[in-house]
Point group: D2
Chain length 355, copies 4
């Protein structure tokens, strides 16, 4: 009897899950938007993809490559369309707040491209609205969905690395200078979101140094240093003026150490059984600290298009009425770190305490 009811509930849930189909709108078709369109089109839960960009030529390019999308004539048009339940915002960051707010106020679930907003106040207001209206508000921190970051998260969560000593990230290349964004707002959202996700610790203070060599008032090289409790430190090198492209993160723990090199085609993650063993006995110092050097191991990571998983998570979170993996609150955290970085640089590297 109970069994029977349970079966019915299951069937019901199953039906919801399988039958739930969404019409979504993608706003902003510049650099990242087309990838969103391609992935939305191939998602089984997507019934219809509406697109909109204020630049007509961007819309035209989409139409050349993809058949089966619907072109909206204005953003208002999307807001007023009751068929559209969800909106993906892939416009420049300074428009995120206004567009997302409108969408939420028109009862649309919203996925915002990273960085979430230009200020933490904007982020907080959007979060409050979404909460009040019971809508899903998610930020596209794509890297969190990659097999590499999932693996690192698992290694840390299960204690395989031991106590974490430091997180050191280098993300440098000969960069694409942008009109109104500096190297920090361009590159750091990736690393800040990854770091917050895998460490899952509260940053205490931040110091940053940067330089603008082009003279436009936008930093092209920056270093960010973040401190946590228990001597855990995180450091970031962000650079648009590097002859080499480097995407390398070192994470050292008391038990093991990880090197994550995103440019390696196959062995993105290497886990080293290396470290130091500290003996507590009061013997001679030399014997107290011993080096441990062991095997290296590189787990196979199943490659999948990450953006597909982002869209899937967005729609599932809507359906299941739950917090998505990369929640708006994660987006807010990243924005706070970006703001603190900017503040510290403007004050010549002064320490900024994070509440």
């Amino acid at each position: 009897m109970l069994c029977n009811i349970f079966a019915k509930i299951l069937t019901c849930i199953f039906k919801i899950h399988t039958t739930m189909k969404y019409q979504i709108a993608i706003v902003g078709l510049g650099y990242w938007g087309p990838n969103m369109v391609r992935n939305a089109l191939s998602n089984v839960s997507v019934e219809e993809v509406h697109i909109y960009d204020i630049q007509e030529k961007n819309t035209q390019k989409i139409l050349q490559n993809f058949s089966g999308v619907k072109v909206a004539t204005s953003f208002e048009n999307i807001l007023q369309n009751p068929q559209i339940q969800a909106v993906i915002i892939a416009t420049p960051v300074d428009t995120h707040y206004a567009l997302a707010k409108q969408a939420l106020l028109h009862q649309k679930h919203v996925l915002v491209e990273k960085p979430f907003t230009s200020t933490h106040q904007e982020a907080e207001e959007l979060i409050a609205i979404a909460q009040r209206e019971k809508l899903t508000l998610m930020v596209d921190h794509t890297f969190i969905y990659t097999p590499a970051i999932r693996k690192i998260k698992e290694l840390i969560t299960t204690g395989q690395l031991g106590d974490i000593y430091y997180y050191d990230s280098v993300r440098v290349n000969l960069g694409l200078f942008q009109r109104d964004v500096n190297v920090i707002w361009d590159l750091a959202p990736h690393d800040f979101s990854i770091m917050l996700h895998v460490l899952d610790k509260k940053p205490l203070a931040l110091q940053a140094m940067g330089a603008d060599h082009v003279g436009k008032g936008l930093e092209d090289v920056a270093y960010v240093h973040i401190t946590f409790e228990n001597n855990l430190i995180a450091h970031f090198h962000l650079n648009w003026l590097s002859p080499l492209k480097i995407r390398k993160t070192l994470i050292a723990g008391s038990k093991k150490m990880v090197v994550y090199d995103d440019l390696e085609p196959n062995e993105k993650i290497k886990i080293y059984d290396k470290g130091i063993d500290v003996k507590t006995k009061e013997e001679e110092y030399q014997t107290l600290i011993q080096y441990r050097s062991g095997d290296m191991y590189s787990p196979m990571l199943h490659q999948k298009e990450t953006l597909q998983m982002v869209i899937e998570e967005f729609l599932k979170a809507i359906t299941e009425q739950r917090k998505p993996l990369t929640d708006a609150k994660d987006g807010l955290q990243v924005v706070r770190l970006l703001e603190a970085t900017q503040t510290s640089i403007k004050n010549g590297g002064k320490i900024v305490y994070l509440e």
Copy 2:
């Protein structure tokens, strides 16, 4: 007639140069001393090599491997030996000052292992004595003598790199923990001396962050940030807790960029014809900054044992009564940066202004 006199003078100089032979003493036979002994023995201007170490077993090890050295029974013994004109000090840093001072006061020329001294006051006092006594006082900043650093120095001095934008150095590995030296005093002397030498600019301010994960009060990871005029910045990552060994320096200029990887067996230096071209016309922003991506070039560097050149320079500077390439004043500069680093770390990353 004049010609004739000139020829005689030349012959005379030539004779001095060729006939000048030195008896030198090497004090401290631990890690670096044996290399000094080996190179001193094969130097044509060295007549006799005296050695001394307070640990008998270190002396014995030398005797096993090298024939033809003379063992001094005490440091005093060396000081009192009028045959010995020059002393090489390869003992722990906290003994440098006392030993070098004694040697200078006994009219010996002195070559001190890096780092020069424990404090800038000690360094200044030694410099003053050497100046007064007209003695050569040199610091063994070995890297300055490598073909790679000579090449980089040449590229910068001749303006081939253009205006320098930044100097970024990473020197990390699973390090040898030492009794009383932290990662900064162990690794930074290399990078500080190289940086000061190739940039040849006055550092204005310094900020440093570090952490001690072993709990012995000695930093095992540190980051140092130095600012100069005209937005030139230098950054250093020093780390004893890294699973990877990395020795990589990026130097970007307005014309070219250099990557110096000391672990590459053959192509230690790569020069990239990459950068950005900034147009000054008041056109649309997008056209103002253009990327430049060109050829890469790796000059052949003639490998020679660097330490041989260090000893040669020491003896030549004595003979020619001139400042050596790595003068005591360079050593003092490095000590000042080490002290400033320590001060900044102790004050939680506070800016230290360098006079």
Copy 3:
């Protein structure tokens, strides 16, 4: 006056070149066909793209991704369409001959995917037909159009490498086993076509060894050795069972040496000023051969989609009624080497003389 006439002729030619528009058909939409479709669609000289595949699902996949193609209902349909001047054949190799022959006999210009045909007799017959009918017959040896191979060709042609000593190629990976093609017919066409193109020498003899570890009668590992006049040798390692993906070619000449690594994102070509200097004097042997080790240089290569250039060359060759860069005769040469490889392997590595 003459000038005037000349100008008119030029204008005329120019008009032909600019106004010439082609309707082309792409037959075979499996692995490579879709790339052909994408590039044909974006080519300015292409007026209309017709597509056909015997598998309906392949056609459907194209229609999903590309709007603006015309679907032909049969190959016959394409042959009978007088609007279609040119046919691109991207089907399995055993169908190339039959399809290309039909197309030529219906007065279509033909571009055939590599390898050209299954036998040299087929290739010769197609060449004879194309010659008779005055039609362009080209083979898609794509690599010949890459900036890397163009650069190597230039280095050899201009004598910068000196006399060529050897050509050594390694193309290995964990391969895609195919129903009826072994590792030789899958991978060697690339290397044979590149080698013939850059060396521009007549191969004299060939020896090959191979092994089939799966037991399906298809080699999965093979080595091919080719000899030329003057001690020039070429060697190829082809492998579907390698844990590493390697695409590396060494070419050594008496003056310089080239390393071509197709997996390097930026520095695909490195030119080494290395080699040996042979003195002819009758002195002691040791002094007769001297090593020369100099700089390394990596020229910047402008990346462009190669297949775009293939289609462009095909259409230009038709318009200008000239031999294309990768002529059918080049295709025939490659087929002869593939056949000789197969013959040698079947006879346990016996030498096969190439007429």
Copy 4:
């Protein structure tokens, strides 16, 4: 009681082992000899090291660097010295036979530098003499003692790689041309000895191609192909005219694959859980062969000076009156392959069957 006797025997054996001290002679002090001297001097079982070279300057160089060696005035002198139990021969290969024979006939144990001898007849004769005289005759195939090769041997012996498919070795660099040895006799002894040791299979046939670009009749580039039962093949690329130094061996088995890169400072061996799974069911071909791609693992290898282990093994084999790890018979096997290589090259790559 029994226990007691056993203890006494053990003590006895232990005494022999610990008290056994040898006087050894090292003949030939050119390239490799000095390393032998250094390692012999630091071996605890060596009581005295005698040295001899026909070139006085080589002897002098040793005396400069090492104290405590005894200089023999002639080879005869060594033969006649009853104190010397063992002779290490590190002279050019064409003198190995004569010197080793003399030493054996004077009741000395002999360790010969690789390659063992110039011909297999010489090798066989030496083996016969050693057997008759009950003397240890060993060949210095140094690589067999490295942790990397020991690990590979273990992986194959314990079946972890499964059935071996192929062994592919590349050993190339800008080589040191020698008076009377070609690239094969210079480089192949390493790879042939490693291959024979780890595969432990009988080679059936060999084919080799080579070229001489200097015109001295000595090959500077060579390829060797060896076949075994069950489709196992081995291939070697040996080259003195390569701009790159490469030391890379691929070994693929049905279960796992190994990459051995001797130039990697830390991760010399990488074990890939990659391969193909062949299903025997008579289904569609496509499903019969499946790719398997899994984790990669690099075991830590404890670095030790290999030559130290060679000398240790030599002395232990003498003491324990047993076959050393790299027996003269292994040396003979290598010589046979070298001869077959030479024969095949001289006959234009003809197959040479190995009995």
